[in-house]
């Protein structure tokens, strides 16, 4: 375990897609139980950074730890060794992720979506998983939709199933990649309510979002990213009401 006790620790994380320099040295620290909201204009690299945290993207420079373990690599002396697929998969089990486009498995019912990973990856007994999955679906307010296929659910309902699916692996950290951006306005609230409850229950969360109200109310810290850099970070209320950097001021004047 990391002596600093941080769930996520990023030091000078760089990421390039060919010639495109997407992340230009990101530093971030997330303490247990903390909700960190990441905001910024599209193309600022915030989603890419989130995807680096569970190694869906490989970082090109810097260091990134989750729960004290380097993400995607093993360090021996000065050398880094890439982890095998199996080891990366094991790291990801500790990290839940919720996508903008939900990405539910369309050929499975809501219940099967939630049960799939615990049953197949962690090989838990079906009975226990089923019980837990039903509780989770109840917790996100979908107790009556357990037999429904994703195509029969609204966007908000699908996203809540997706959250339950991620929670079923009992992760130590939850990543949210613009979880409400693909939703109709009237469905945003139900998803944010679930996330708010999750924060109250003490889950460590990193949330890429455009919902300033959520960031202000639920976030413990707010990170503003622009052009691959962290421009400003601090307590959400302070950053949102009294931004220091001109780029933050400019961005907030457009979205608030």
């Amino acid at each position: 375990m990391d002596p600093s006790g941080l769930v996520v620790k990023a030091e000078q994380v760089h990421k390039q897609f060919g010639r495109l320099h997407v992340l230009k040295g990101i530093d971030l620290a997330v303490k247990p139980g903390e909700v960190t909201c990441v905001i910024g204009p599209s193309g600022s690299g915030k989603s890419t950074f989130l995807r680096c945290i569970n190694h869906l993207e490989k970082i090109d420079g810097g260091r990134l730890w989750v729960n004290g373990h380097l993400v995607g690599y093993r360090q021996k002396g000065d050398r880094l060794y890439e982890l095998r697929d199996r080891e990366v998969a094991a790291q990801r089990r500790e990290i839940g992720m919720v996508f903008q486009q939900f990405n539910l498995f369309p050929h499975m019912t809501a219940l099967d979506n939630v049960m799939e990973a615990p049953c197949r990856v962690r090989r838990e007994s079906r009975g226990a998983v089923r019980e837990r999955a039903l509780k989770l679906l109840d917790r996100v307010g979908l107790a009556d939709k357990v037999r429904a296929y994703p195509a029969q659910l609204s966007g908000g309902q699908q996203q809540r199933v997706a959250i339950a699916r991620a929670l079923a692996m009992q992760p130590l950290l939850m990543l949210f990649d613009e979880p409400t951006s693909a939703l109709d306005p009237e469905l945003v609230g139900e998803v944010l309510d679930v996330m708010r409850q999750l924060a109250v229950d003490g889950m460590t969360m990193v949330v890429v979002t455009h919902e300033m109200g959520f960031a202000r109310e639920v976030g413990d810290s707010l990170v503003f990213m622009d052009d691959g850099c962290v421009v400003e970070q601090g307590h959400p209320r302070e950053v949102l009401s009294n931004p220091q950097h001109p780029r933050t001021q400019d961005f907030l004047s457009k979205v608030l």
Partner: protein
């Protein structure tokens, strides 16, 4: 119009409009009915058909044995072909350039050589293997290329007896089918949203598990219809193994009766009838398989959609 929106207003009478007439449809019906009548009349009155001869001979034991061989060849060739297709499609999409190259080579070769030529080639393989101690070609090269044994067990069996008749025909058809299925499966895998793969990975699923549980079941919706086509094509292509030669195959048997009795044409008609019957059975099977893999999607057959919606319970 605004009046209608006011509450309390009585609902207007339902519209009773004169529907559009389609005289062209009636004309088409008349023409088609006439043509059908002429055709049926020809079937009945033309003596060359020899219907009683067809009925007497098309269902005799040797023909039934031919049907059995044809069906077995189709089933086994498709099972091996689909299995090979999945393996080569996954290899084609692998990040390993050697696996990719090998899979490309396989599909290139077996799509380039006609099935008829393959059938004759495999039928004559036994001549080669009196001198050579190994199984059959490409196995060894593929094995070297991949570092794994494909069909390793074959090496133990005497090549001449093994590659005679049925097995030679089956291998020719199955290997050829594998190449076509590889392309069909590849198209299916590519049709699945990359977000599915990411979601599975984010849950900590391995690549094999992701492929088996998440990607392939969704790819099946794209894979099944062309595979139905392939199966029907395979059913008919089994007649090619007569050149291996395989002498207990359906078409060979019917033609043999035709030649022996100098009634060639009636036996050709019998062949048509048999292939029509067998294909119809396959179509029924395809319907059910498609219905199974369409679960959870809006494009499933209507009956299925209604059933699923009913079972899931509505909004209210």
């Amino acid at each position: 119009m605004t009046q209608l929106d006011e509450p309390g207003q009585a609902r207007p009478e339902p519209i009773r409009a004169v529907p559009v007439r389609h005289p062209g449809r009636w004309l088409a019906v008349a023409v088609l009915a006439l043509l059908t009548a002429m055709f049926v009349h020809m079937l009945i009155t033309n003596k060359a058909f020899q219907w009683s001869f067809i009925i007497d001979n098309a269902f005799r034991p040797p023909v039934i044995e031919g049907v059995r061989t044809t069906v077995l060849l189709t089933v086994f060739a498709m099972i091996i072909g689909i299995a090979l297709g999945i393996v080569f499609a996954v290899m084609r999409l692998s990040s390993n350039p050697i696996l990719r190259g090998a899979a490309w080579f396989y599909t290139w070769f077996f799509r380039a050589v006609p099935r008829l030529v393959l059938a004759i080639l495999f039928g004559n393989m036994a001549i080669l293997y009196q001198k050579v101690r190994f199984g059959f070609p490409f196995d060894r090269q593929l094995s070297d290329l991949l570092g794994i044994d494909i069909n390793g067990t074959i090496f133990d069996i005497d090549a001449r007896t093994f590659l005679s008749g049925f097995m030679a025909g089956l291998l020719a058809l199955a290997l050829s089918e594998g190449a076509y299925m590889a392309e069909i499966v590849r198209a299916g895998i590519l049709s699945v949203n990359p977000g599915q793969d990411e979601a599975a990975q984010a849950l900590g699923m391995s690549r094999v598990l992701t492929m088996r549980r998440i990607v392939l079941p969704q790819a099946m919706r794209v894979i099944v219809p062309p595979t139905g086509n392939e199966t029907i094509a395979m059913l008919k292509d089994t007649s090619l193994v007569a050149f291996v030669p395989v002498t207990n195959e359906l078409f060979f048997r019917l033609e043999a009766i035709g030649s022996r009795t100098f009634q060639v044409f009636p036996m050709l008609v019998a062949a048509c009838i048999w292939y029509l019957l067998l294909t119809s059975v396959l179509l029924v099977g395809q319907y059910f398989i498609e219905r199974y893999f369409a679960r959870g999607t809006a494009s499933g057959p209507a009956g299925m959609r209604l059933r699923v919606l009913g079972g899931a319970g509505g909004e209210h």
